[in-house]
Amino acid sequence: MNSTLVIAGMGTLAVGTYAFRVSGQLLRAKINFPPRATRLLEAAAVILLAALVATTALTEGHAFSGFARPAGVLVAGLLAWRKAPFLAVVLAAAAVTALLRLVGVS
């Protein structure tokens, strides 16, 4: 592994990510959004996050992640919907996934 190349790659990723963070904020400051557009932007953030949940729960690389992880996330989602404490929700996800793997369900 070439250290110089890895540092350059890391630097690129860090700068690029910061650029994304800055540019959204700069655009927002430049444009005066009506309340309805503001609500749409917030809903857009929820949609992004929901898609992130679905892809990180169900996929690994370009393929299905197996049953254990989405099962854990599903249990967590049900608990969250029933307004269970946050800690219980997150620990349930890890526990269900770990238990399923323990009994051989990947």
């Binding site: 592994m1 190349l5 890895v6 350059a8 790659g9 890391m10 630097g11 690129t12 990723l13 860090a14 690029g16 990510t17 910061y18 994304f20 963070r21 800055v22 540019s23 959204g24 904020q25 655009l27 927002r28 959004f33 309340p35 503001t38 749409l40 917030e42 809903a43 857009a44 953030a45 929820v46 949609i47 992004l48 996050l49 929901a50 898609a51 992130l52 949940v53 679905a54 892809t55 990180t56 729960a57 996929t59 690389g61 393929a63 254990a68 992880r69 854990g72 996330v73 967590a76 989602g77 969250a80 946050f86 929700v89 349930a92 996800a93 890890a94 526990a95 269900v96 238990l99 793997r101």
Partner: protein
């Protein structure tokens, strides 16, 4: 900063603390995976502080470890992180701070800080929640990564502990109250379906961005066609005073 403890109620602070704890555990697995893949400790240490966006860092380490070029890995990571642009758009001006402080406030923009910030009803509380969570993640993510790299082989098999289920569970728990609104839920489910359908074909990161097409469901449908059922609180649809 001084007024955070008075601005935020105890429940929100507890949730932020637990989220940071979860981030710490995911950081542990990240650091452990990085050293197990052959990286020296400084790679997860520096990356976790400078990039501060977990999914892209896992991806970077995975691609380089698999023999990919670090630049290709950086591009893939940037694709994953492109969602920070719409995050920045969604945050009301002033949440990330002003002047020099804003440089740091922008850096701590991540999935968790954005969702906690947006969940608050007014600007002072949005700012307090965003910063508390952002700074917490800034400490816990690199802290977890460094510790994970140090204990390396001890948590080598992170899958056995189900740690990989924690990140989606944390995010889901944070957006679940927005999903109680029927219209938002429908759009979020559509977005998730789009992302899942695209995952086999597109590079990582792009499917999540493609999910934004589901916003169209909210634009075209006239407001008021969907009344929330009894007991449902449409938090996302609550009117906020424009800044």
């Amino acid at each position: 900063m001084r007024s955070i403890w008075r601005t935020l109620d105890r429940g929100v602070l507890t949730d932020i603390a637990l989220t940071c704890l979860a981030v710490f555990f995911i950081g542990l697995s990240y650091g452990a995976i990085a050293v197990a893949s052959g990286f020296p400790l400084w790679v997860p240490a520096a990356q976790s502080m400078l990039v501060l966006a977990g999914a892209s860092e896992f991806l970077f380490v995975g691609i380089v470890a698999a023999g990919g070029s670090p630049f290709a890995a950086a591009l893939a990571g940037m694709l994953v992180n492109a969602r920070h642009l719409p995050y920045g758009l969604a945050l009301p001006p002033g949440v990330t701070g002003r002047g020099g402080r804003r440089l740091l406030g922008t850096h701590v923009m991540n999935d968790e800080s954005v969702v906690f910030g947006l969940a608050q009803p007014d600007l002072p509380r949005q700012r307090a929640a965003y910063w508390t969570c952002g700074l917490g993640v800034l400490i816990c993510w690199p802290g977890g990564a460094v510790l994970g790299a140090l204990i390396g082989s001890a948590v080598h098999d992170t899958g056995a502990f189900g740690l990989d289920a924690m990140f989606p569970a944390v995010i889901l728990a944070l957006i679940v109250k927005d999903l109680r609104d029927a219209r938002t839920r429908r759009a979020a489910l559509a977005g998730a379906a789009i992302a899942l359908a695209a995952t086999p074909f597109l590079p990582a990161g792009l499917p999540v961005l493609l999910a934004l097409a589901a916003v169209l469901l909210l634009i075209r449908q006239p407001a008021g066609t969907d009344r929330p059922g009894p007991g449902e609180q449409p938090t996302a649809a609550r009117v906020r005073t424009a800044p």
